[in-house]
Subunit: 144 residues, 2 copies
DNA sequence: CTACGACTTCAAGTTCACTTTAGGTCAAGG
DNA sequence: CCTTGACCTAAAGTGAACTTGAAGTCGTAG
């Protein structure tokens, strides 16, 4: 059984080889060894990468994700941290919901200018008050 | 009536003076003039800043927000763009909902390791498949 | 055996939205 | 009048998550 090399892992996971090397540098993953200079990985790498993807999708930074792995490669996820992040996601979701509704309305609103639309103005003062602040960045440039 | 200076605008809006200068450099705002070297602003600056905050909260970049202002300072918001962004927010919201539910479950799950929890594994393969990919960055470091 | 192309390292570059720093100006209070 | 401190500019720095580039190594197909 040949272990996958970086190209194979990249192909299967959809993660660029450069990112895999970067993750290794950050201590998020490790190769099983080398074939010559070339990295070879254990099949378990794919689960590891899925965990990383999951962490990212949940809004954890790579450093935070790194903290969830023990030195021995085992996972040690703090349940408290998961709750905290879930609460954070809740707040974000509520905010984004308000935004989406506002945008949706503004897109069809008949008012001559958005500034004359009451709904839009409500949204505006919410933004000004910071009720809504805290930028998110929903759609990072996709890989691949 | 004295026009507000940068410190006043910063105080009222909660936006650091450095950010206001940065916005000016980017062409997002303009001062009404100077008092000596010092910028003075028209009261309309506050509405402008609210628009910027709103745009940010909706996930527009500063450049995109800049494109929504005419040279004369009027607003020209493309309704099509609003719809597009609303759709994008919808996708993000759905994704975040799945994440939050998963995290919430994982936080209370009785399985000895998260890797043995079926719910967690479902989430994991969703992440691996990229169903969920596309990182967001919900909670940027707050200003102030 | 040799050439090729895929891999390697290390450093620097990219984007976004700002902040920080260094060095200077000037309006206002005492 | 003089000091003070808030403002000014320009340039460089920050952090996250990678990507890109240059220069070098080496397994494998022919």
């Amino acid at each position: 059984m040949k272990l996958p090399d970086i190209a194979e892992v990249s192909r299967v996971s959809g993660i660029p080889a450069s990112a895999l090397r970067f993750y290794e540098e950050k201590g998020l993953i490790a190769s099983a060894g080398r074939h010559g200079l070339r990295r070879v990985y254990e099949p378990a790498i794919f689960e590891r990468l899925a965990l990383i993807a999951l962490g990212q999708a949940s809004g954890f930074t790579l450093d935070e994700i790194g903290a969830m792995f023990c030195a021995d490669g085992r996972v040690k996820i703090d349940r408290q941290m998961l709750s905290t992040k879930a609460d954070e996601l809740d707040r974000t979701i509520r905010r984004l919901n308000a935004m989406r509704d506002g945008l949706r309305h503004a897109a069809v609103c008949r008012a001559p200018s958005h500034l004359e639309c009451p709904t839009f103005r409500r949204l505006l003062s919410a933004a000004a008050k910071g009720t809504i602040r805290a930028p998110e960045k929903p759609a990072r440039k996709r890989r691949r």
